[in-house]
Symmetry: C2
Subunit: 113 residues, 2 copies
Amino acid sequence: MQQNELFGKCPYVTSQKVLSGKWTLYILHLLQDGPVRFNELQRRMPESMTHTTLSRQLKTLVNDGLVLRRVHSEIPPNVEYELSEVGVKFKSVLSALETWGNEYIAYLSQNEK
Amino acid sequence: MQQNELFGKCPYVTSQKVLSGKWTLYILHLLQDGPVRFNELQRRMPESMTHTTLSRQLKTLVNDGLVLRRVHSEIPPNVEYELSEVGVKFKSVLSALETWGNEYIAYLSQNEK
DNA sequence: GATACCAGTATCATTTGCGATACTTAGAAG
DNA sequence: CTTCTAAGTATCGCAAATGATACTGGTATC
């Protein structure tokens, strides 16, 4: 089922696969501070992402075990997404990425002049 | 030119884009300890990756400024790849990813039983 | 009785990424 | 004069990921 023989063995290959969705990091970062509902999540995402794609990426993240989907049976529906246990552990990666990302952005703006 | 309005502004969106290549993390991890030549790099990669793809991903990384390409004018050619300054800073992300990746692998093997 | 809300799914079209294969350059070795 | 080396590029085709659009269900509100 896995296309790469190192998936589940090498931490880099495994992480790469899990993070391969175009919006994965942004979604995880929005979930860092607690549960968020579907439509609220979409509102906080860049406009260029449609709810179709958000739905698919969330499904993948839930499937991969990083995110929990909590359904409150109400009408209109109320569904909350939040980080799972292993998802919460991912926060340290997000933190390192935020730091580096900002350094990299600084590097980019230096070099565009 | 950029498909996402937050590229160059949001650290997560920017990182996501840079890390989107299928083998990016693995390549960067192989370059962590100093310069490596092209063919040597290929030998250390999983066999399922061809040199065509390696070439493309390296080009992207060089283009994005994470990797330096050093040509020694010899025959046969001798080309070394190594982390740039901003690439070296990425090591802290690699370190966090390695830790989390291993935790995630442990989580996966718990749940397969 | 039409419209809005929330949280989606179904389907199609397009784009992008990746893998496979063939080809290149320039010299050295057999 | 054929083969080997290192480090690639060019081209093609397939598969996967994404985007666009339309549709759903049940209630409440205008």
